[in-house]
């Protein structure tokens, strides 16, 4: 049952990523892959909130797994971030490539921490 819900929410997460990506890309079609950065950072913030809810607000663990592994995991993506970094580097945009890889990681870790912090403050 958990597996089924995880899979279902993973599908919803991936579809959400596809739509958000299309909406952002359609607006600013630029060199830098802002869409994926935004998706990964917002998904990490949401996962931080969920982890905080699990730790400080007695969120049921099954609900946590379904939302965290399913939705957040399906919504965020590491592989696309890597491909976009490689493509920036291939087109000679080395600084942007480094900024994309390191920047996404730092922002995502910060966003996850912020999510946990917010739930801790609300406890």
């Amino acid at each position: 049952m958990t597996l089924l819900l995880v899979a279902l929410l993973g599908g919803v997460g991936a579809a959400t990523r596809f739509i958000v990506d299309g909406l952002i890309r359609g607006r600013w079609s630029r060199v830098f892959p802002f869409a994926t950065v935004l998706i990964n950072v917002s998904g990490s913030a949401l996962l931080g909130l969920l982890a905080g809810a699990l730790a400080y607000h007695s969120m049921p663990s099954t609900a946590y797994v379904v939302a965290a592994v399913g939705f957040c995991g399906g919504y965020t993506t590491f592989s696309t971030a890597m491909v976009e970094t490689v493509r920036l580097a291939q087109s000679g945009e080395y600084r942007r490539a480094v900024a994309n890889a390191l920047g996404t990681l730092l922002l995502a870790v910060g966003a996850a921490g912020l999510g946990v912090l917010v739930m801790w403050l609300l406890a």
Binding site: A7, A14, F18, S79, G113
Partner: protein, 155 residues
């Protein structure tokens, strides 16, 4: 102009189905492979493997020339859906945040550096493998795309 694929319900469903498959794979992997010495091995393996496969897939599709409807379905279903859903950035971020919160600085630093370097190298390797395979198969039998393009802007 990029066509608005993200507003096409069929393609959204295709990405969702792929995402279900990829997420199931990641979930089963996380159940089967426990953390090792504070290292979230399952996330690491999924991310590195997924980066290799996505690099290879997108390069292979790119080298086929202009995208056909079937190529687009494969790119969105398998690339955006399955491999996008199989890999995860949020788990990586939360795992790093938890390691930092628990003062496991060295583990956090190793995990972060290893994820990025292995992810990038795996992706590059995937691109190289697809490029090599493409050249080899062209050497065996000339592809119709190899004929000189005539006519020009027919789009």
């Amino acid at each position: 102009m990029t066509p608005a694929h993200h507003l096409n319900p069929r393609l959204v469903v295709l990405v969702a189905l792929g995402g279900m498959v990829g997420t199931t794979g990641r979930y089963l992997l996380s159940e089967a492979v426990p953390s090792h010495g504070g290292w979230p091995v399952a996330t690491f393996v999924a991310n590195v493997l997924g980066s290799f496969l996505l690099g290879a897939l997108l390069e292979a599709l790119l080298r086929r020339g202009r995208e056909s409807p079937r190529g687009r379905a494969v790119r969105l279903g398998v690339g955006t859906g399955v491999l996008g859903g199989f890999t995860t950035f949020s788990s990586l971020a939360l795992e790093l945040e938890r390691l930092l919160a628990n003062d496991a600085l060295l583990t956090a630093a190793t995990y972060a550096v290893a994820s990025l370097t292995c992810g990038l190298l795996a992706c590059l390797l995937g691109v190289a493998v697809a490029a090599r395979h493409h050249q080899r198969s062209r050497a065996r039998r000339p592809h119709p795309d190899d004929r000189p393009v005539s006519g020009g802007a027919a789009r």
